[in-house]
Symmetry: D2
Subunit: 200 residues, 4 copies
């Protein structure tokens, strides 16, 4: 398949997934302080410029999730590098989405993983060696290795525990943006039923 | 090719084209009162639900074109039906964009057509029979037939003259959304050089 | 009161009114092709730069009205000049909003005017002399004069009939943006009850 | 002055300040992961519902800052409570803005403070007692007290150092939203001259 066609498929799948999220008011409860990023990597991507994401990420406006800009290549750095790194362990992963971490979300995700027999995992940032944290670009390989080793494989749902100056976050991985958005929406719906409405 | 993949290609190509327009401040001068719609029809589309367009169209904010929402199927009615109708005469047309009509735009488009040996045309709405205008859904087939007959083929660039209660508008047609956005951007750049800046 | 404070009151009242419209899904049905403009003139305004409006106007996205940009001075031309002209006849008018015209809207507005004993009017563009239409800036004084003379005063609700190349539009006038938004929302709610949902 | 008029002044001043930020591409470099919030409290505000802020905050799209929604009351929690708490020490503070923290920003802000003879400060979150951090709503009074005591007054520019799970952030305080936006823009312009363009 030509590269142009691959780009179109990736941008189109991502745009469709954004529309799904924007139509889901329950997902608003899962938007973290740093906003939601939804990314989808081109086949063989080695840099963030070959990974599509939402410009300005997805935030909450008027009770609904809203994309700040269009899907485009190079619009994410952190999540893009995460997908690229994960693929070294599991080449069937192409897309990812991040969402809010709290104790109730942990419960909901664990139940979801157990029902669907999905591997669950977490990155323990307190174990990150100081010399890794300091070196530019060294953190991501360390984190993904720690995740895969401690989980016994690539978990499709995991969280990155809070770090110094870092909000803790959940991540869902999958084959394309629509798949990870579908998972995130299902988790959002279960989460909304669990929390009292005055807390949202 | 599976329908899902076709949808992704269409949405992705459209999203990419929207990004091109949003990055082009000159295109702001070509945005008409009714805003810009950019549409791309799926293969074999017979209804607007099989045609992708920009939700809320494209308007001007802060000197730049800005899409109001995401590309999605069913987001356009008029332009979608126009593409579907045009395909009865030229099945290689899949996408279209509308933009502002004025005398200077006419000059610029005519030069562009002459340089690129593109057929130029126009729809003369004053010739529309009253009984056609009155009947719901009858206008579009009449207009496209009038356009094709008077132009001697399907023109890739044409305008629809002003009608009673209708702003006159230009339309560019092409094989995909990126192609028609590219044409519209080129025309916008030439147009901006032609008009005094105090008029924009 | 200092000019700065006047600007803040005008922008704040306008921003509040925009929020009211964005929270009203029924108003989506009243958004015309040319979008909605909501304007509020500073005391003594003589040019559009002294009239606040919504940048990029208000359009429909995902079933809700959405402002394309922020309220700011100079963001409207036509509606701004309309308010300035109207004030020559009724200095208590400071704000205006335009919305869709169709036969059902006419019925709803007439009932509303009759209930609230508000003067109703319309501008008959077919009576506009050719030499007026041609001269830049001559149309507005002619139109408002025609409106006031034919209505026997300044009507707070009126429409401008369709013209050659012009979509017909309703306008509501009032003392501030919140007042005209309140009227437009009330009309939108009545209109939605009147039309079958498959037509929206 | 009536409460309605106070609300209008606050929303209008905030909307104007948002426009200033949206027109300043340099400010994009100062947008932190958690986005920018710009808040302005009504006189005597005791809850976030009496503090105006930007719905969805301000993020970066296409190289420019962009507000996700309209200014409205109750749209901020953290920054709103911060302003309310600060006023216990300095009742002339009504507005605040947060922006990115890094070592270069610290240098730029310190120079700016020294030039303008403004008190500079910082909140050291490592000193926060565990029992304060745990109790809902106890953190803010502790933090502001710590800030005021350690700075010898209410600093108009300060940062909150990184905490466990918290991005470090700068805050500027002032009498209204336009004043704090003006300060933030000046700091953004100096910051942009200091950093190599390939890092932005």
């Amino acid at each position: 398949m030509a590269r142009t066609e691959q780009v179109e498929i990736v941008l189109g799948n991502l745009g469709y997934a954004v529309g799904m999220l924007e139509d889901c008011p329950e997902f608003t409860s899962l938007i973290p302080e740093v906003r939601v990023n939804l990314v989808y990597a081109l086949p063989g991507a080695t840099t963030p410029n070959e990974v599509a994401a939402v410009e300005g990420r997805i935030t909450a406006v008027g009770g609904f999730p809203r994309a700040s800009g269009m899907p485009s290549l190079g619009a994410s750095d952190h999540m893009a590098r995460l997908i690229i790194e994960v693929r070294n362990y599991d080449p069937t992963v192409n897309a990812g989405i991040n969402f809010k971490y709290d104790k109730v979300v942990v419960d909901v995700v664990k139940e979801y993983c157990s029902e669907h027999r999905i591997l669950f995992g977490w990155i323990d940032r307190t174990k990150e060696p100081a010399e890794v944290a300091k070196r530019d670009g060294a953190s991501m390989p360390w984190k993904i290795k720690q995740l895969v080793v401690s989980s016994g494989g690539v978990p499709r749902l995991f969280y990155e525990g809070e770090g110094w100056g870092k909000e803790p976050l959940f991540v869902a991985l999958g084959k394309d943006a629509v798949e990870v958005a579908t998972i995130a929406i299902e988790i959002a719906r279960r989460y909304r039923q669990r929390i009292p409405s005055h807390l949202t």
